[in-house]
Symmetry: C2
Subunit: 336 residues, 2 copies
């Protein structure tokens, strides 16, 4: 079953069938109708591989993530696909599994499939791999690229604004001693969040006690351990901000283990607003980072760059927003 058979049945040339499929305006409505009917009766599905090969356009956009089982990504993937579908494009997903070596495999897949653009939503990528895309003029869009390059689009997140909102919220609840559980310092975004926290304290004239800035790893276990250490201090903070939600969830577990209550004894704030966060007990107050917005901006940047052949990438900044749920409350009376 191919375009030739359709052409035969519709009594037109293959060129006309192709034009009909692609919605060219150079086909009379009657001819188009005849072709469409032929396609229908033959149950013909145009071969994507042949189309891509013939046209030189794959209509495929790559999306490289760390790991689909990491709760941060599913919503991002879904949003990216939704917007791609709106533009009549398809999506190729690849995950690195946090392994720089696997990034090569991901890039290779993208290159072999001749994608029209790639969104890279995970940090580590070697310079020479970026070059592969550049030399082939394949548009790239990064999330949080620390060292932006000409021609590459970049989605920046205003982490500072998000952290500020969290700190302000806690201050408005009367908290004066606020702790922080940082993410891995190898991650640029984690470093920025930590710094933003320190700056926010300064801005509000709260004293910064470095023993209340603990180190986590953006996973639950790290959050659990860091919070345990925080609680070991006789005068521990009455509120703690975690660098991401998984950390916050781990931290909550540590609080419960000590027989303390959230938010009566201690308030917790996360970052990201993963789906899980609405279902913790109590529901987690967190700084929402809209994956939908990230996906939309990234896709549009890629699409526009590909279509216009632009040589310089776009740059966007996303504002996270505070989502107040049940894990934050007034500073407990009698505490400092």
């Amino acid at each position: 079953m191919n375009i030739k058979e359709v052409a035969r049945l519709a009594k037109v040339s293959t060129a006309t069938v192709s034009r009909t499929i692609n919605g060219s305006d150079k086909v009379t409505p009657e001819t188009a109708e005849r072709v469409r009917k032929a396609i229908e009766t033959l149950k013909f599905y145009p071969n994507t591989n042949a189309r891509a090969l013939g046209s030189g356009r794959s209509s495929l956009y790559g999306l490289i993530i760390s790991d689909i089982t990491n709760p941060f990504f599913p919503e991002l993937v879904k949003s990216f696909e939704d917007i791609a579908v709106q533009y009549g494009q398809e999506v190729l997903i690849a995950n690195t599994n946090y392994d720089p070596h696997r990034m090569e495999v991901c890039v290779s897949r993208m290159l072999q499939r001749k994608v029209d653009g790639v969104a890279i939503m995970t940090s580590e990528i070697a310079e020479h791999l970026i070059d592969e895309f550049n030399s082939r003029k394949i548009p790239l869009a990064f999330l949080d690229n620390a060292t932006p390059q000409k021609g590459i689009s970049n989605i920046l997140v205003d982490y500072a604004a998000g952290i500020d909102a969290a700190v302000d919220h806690l201050i408005s609840l009367g908290h004066k001693t606020i702790g922080f559980i940082a993410g891995p310092m190898s991650l640029a975004s984690a470093r920025i969040r930590k710094r933003a926290f320190i700056n926010a304290l300064k801005r509000n004239n709260l004293k910064l006690d470095l023993q209340f800035v603990e180190q986590g790893n953006h996973r639950t276990d790290g959050g659990h351990e860091a919070m345990s250490r925080l609680l070991d201090h006789k005068a521990h903070p009455t509120a703690v901000i975690a660098s991401n939600d998984m950390t916050a969830i781990g931290a909550m577990g540590a609080v419960f283990e000590r027989g303390l209550h959230i938010p009566q004894d201690i308030s917790i704030v996360g970052f990201d607003d993963i789906e899980l966060s609405a279902f913790t007990q109590p529901a987690l107050t967190t700084v929402r980072l809209s994956r939908q917005e990230i996906a939309k901006l990234a896709f549009r940047a890629l699409y526009n760059t590909y279509q216009t052949g632009a040589t310089k990438g776009a740059e966007y900044t996303i504002q996270p927003t505070l989502v107040i749920r049940k894990s934050t409350g007034p500073k407990p009376a009698g505490k400092h």
Copy 2:
């Protein structure tokens, strides 16, 4: 950059380059080495579209799911990809968004990309769409296909065994009045789970009180409401089994709202063991349904069928296993 340039640089024909890429044994090691070096220096990536078109094999396997943001699926997707990679195959993911109409789009994508097989992990699919695959001899693998057909592989889940294990566990903890929150009756698997629950009670000579068999919807809100209704009974069950984890999580929220404690006042058991379940407070005891096993069996069935050209599909049964965490405990003293 194409195979021709590689051939020129390596001073061989394109056929030899192709053979080298595909690991044919009809190439002298020295020649192969020369070709490989040429590929390396030219940074050549073979065009997947051309390969598929030329060979008639796409080496692509489709995976149709409901929605990647549904916590049941990410692990399934990951496992499916992992096993596919092991076999040197690629994966095309499509989601229906629970919309039968979107299923047509998914099928269309699969057909256009000429996939070598499709795993359908979501229920509703119209008969005529199945025919499209059958007539093209594209292997199919279903999860829980209620009406199995010749030529189609089927992964069955022994839901009854899972529910039995949950009931036995609760009985061993002393519970005598056990409630159940069912899933949507439109779902075959939900119907089976409910029936299995009723049978398990019978088998253990526990009296079945139909007012303790509530209706949920496999989402948190349904679980919440159903549990609220259950708790309205003055003599409510001391343990409740939910048809899936999302339901169980919603139910837990309802319990907390009444100021009751889990598992001291009431025990809760879920089904599926989604990632979230290990992080609820308390961690959810649940019946684990291994998505990894499902994915492996489905992929292997498809791959084998495609390779051998077999006309009859395989059938497998998966045994779920009880995962005991913290949401179940001894029947509260003084209760019936």
